[in-house]
């Protein structure tokens, strides 16, 4: 299939994301657009605020290491079985980045509030934690539905990313993208002001007209721009398509432990070539 004429390049998409923007991204098996991540680093984006939905790995770590982020709201940044996320850890320990610690369902709830256009969403749990103690934007109210007893509940503000950014399995010539079971990408697209998407393959036909694809499709009323990026989640996985590149992730963790190592990694894998494989 030819790439639709309306598609942009990943670098063109990155140029649409201004410094200081609030960007939302999915967790590592949720269709991460590493291609836009690399493009943001290439364009030397600065002061971005990152919302991880609800956690992240190499994507957040690379953006931090490259100096693109002023702030991060997250429930966790880790390289999983490959170890801790070196740039994240260094930046937080050195106070180089503002950290807003959260817990997974709270981030979903903040986006669900935005999706509904409601000012806040209540959520059980969190009470008595230092997560709550350090989030002045999270409040505790008495459950107004409770009768005859106290029932404190945490309420979380709606959060509306300027851009939701993810990698989808398919895109078509009509501006639709298909994320399948990655419902957090649907939530992110609905909750964000606009979505910027890279796609793995071009779908022959209209995704909205195929009943089997309809439920997993995000239509262009949410999607602002699409780029064609085969292996665009690499070195992370795209479920149903390819596994993560464990050797590469292992090598990244090793490299990113020093500033020099990180710089050499970025030179080789971000600046030297536009696409990777």
């Amino acid at each position: 299939m030819p790439v639709p004429e309306t598609y942009l390049s990943s670098d063109e998409i990155a140029s649409r994301i201004p410094d200081g923007a609030l960007i939302g991204v999915p967790k590592e098996d949720g269709g991460v657009s590493m291609e836009i991540t690399r493009a943001l680093i290439r364009r030397e984006a600065r002061d971005l605020r990152l919302l991880t939905v609800p956690v992240s790995s190499i994507q957040a770590d690379m953006l931090i290491g490259a100096g693109c982020l002023a702030e991060i709201e997250t429930s966790g940044v880790s390289m999983g079985e490959f170890g801790y996320a070196p740039s994240f850890r260094r930046a937080v320990e050195n106070g180089d980045i503002v950290i807003r610690d959260a817990t997974c369902p709270a981030i979903y709830a903040e986006l669900q509030a935005s999706e509904k256009g409601t000012p806040f969403m209540p959520l059980r749990g969190i009470l008595g934690s230092d997560i709550l103690a350090n989030r002045p934007d999270w409040k505790t109210i008495e459950n107004p539905m409770a009768e005859g007893h106290n029932d404190p509940v945490v309420v979380l503000p709606a959060i509306r990313p300027d851009f939701g950014i993810f990698h989808a399995r398919y895109g078509d010539a009509y501006g639709n993208v298909w994320v399948g079971a990655r419902r957090e990408c649907v939530l992110l697209a609905h909750a964000s002001a606009r979505a910027l998407v890279t796609v793995e393959e071009i779908w022959n036909g209209n995704l909205m007209e195929d009943d089997r694809m309809l439920a997993g499709t995000v239509p262009p009323i949410y999607v602002d721009a699409v780029a064609y990026a085969p292996r665009g989640a690499w070195p992370l996985s795209l479920p149903g398509c390819y596994e993560r590149d464990s050797e590469h992730l292992k090598a990244y963790v090793l490299a990113a432990k020093s500033a020099d190592g990180f710089a050499a990694y970025i030179d080789r894998h971000v600046f030297a070539k536009k696409a990777s494989g």
Partner: protein
């Protein structure tokens, strides 16, 4: 029958999951995952294991929020958590050691703990490193508290703590851990020396009971194959899987 440390722990965890119908297991948890699959295999369809990262043993298809929504509904009976620090009241810290927000050591973050510790009745804490660095008198940051005042809606909380040396059970009334069994090679003195919090200890503390032979056979056959889908290296090296 001879058995490995992992097989002993799988059987110990499986006993803790007795009667659970919905058991969820998060990332990097091969032993809890194996135990959950063992309970599922033994339950004749009554218990269901959901292993994060598995395509086969995963009943969820509605994205990231679904596990939390199920837990909030009271439909998850058991879950597993770790912690960079854990204290004697069951408070867990997955965020950092030292002053917040600019700590001496930053850990990854709280993940779902701030919610699941409240909503899942049996949260089993799993932390291999048994040291005073991990098991502290008071955590530096509370990702999730071990207990809550009576007005807080809280069906969930800590149930047990498994370390490289021993198993503790959590006393919900007294907000304290009670030593329940020693792992092979460990002594009570060693546990005391390496635990930074005070805990209860019965006079007749003994070893963790050995694996039930029929369960051991099941682990090495069916469970090894099932867990290999998610943790092939673990199954090969620890359970002798030859798939």
């Amino acid at each position: 029958m001879e058995y490995s440390r992992e097989e002993l722990l799988i059987c110990a965890v499986a006993r803790m999951l007795d009667g659970c119908r919905n058991i969820a297991v998060g990332t990097a948890s091969p032993i809890p995952g194996s135990a959950a699959l063992l309970v599922q295999a033994l339950s004749d369809g009554a218990a269901r294991a959901s292993i994060l990262g598995s395509n086969i043993h995963n009943p969820f298809n509605d994205g990231g929020p679904e596990l939390f929504d199920r837990a909030g509904q009271g439909r998850v009976d058991a879950f597993f958590l770790g912690g960079g620090q854990i204290d004697g009241e069951g408070n867990i810290n997955l965020v950092s050691a030292g002053p917040y927000p600019q700590p001496d050591t930053r850990f990854p973050g709280s993940f779902g703990s701030g919610y699941l510790y409240f909503s899942v009745p049996r949260v089993i804490l799993f932390r291999e490193e048994h040291s005073r660095r991990v098991f502290v008198d008071k955590v530096d940051f509370i990702s999730a508290p071990g207990w809550s005042p009576p007005d807080v809606h809280r069906p969930g909380g800590p149930y047990a703590l498994i370390t490289s040396l021993c198993i503790f059970m959590y006393d919900k009334e007294r907000h304290r851990f009670r030593l329940d069994g020693l792992l092979p090679g460990a002594t009570l003195e060693e546990v005391r020396d390496n635990t930074g919090f005070d805990f209860d200890c019965p006079n007749d503390i003994g070893p963790v009971p050995p694996p039930e032979p029929e369960r051991l056979i099941l682990i090495r056959s069916r469970i090894a194959g099932e867990i290999a889908e998610t943790y092939p290296e673990f199954s090969r090296t620890r359970l002798g899987w030859h798939g």
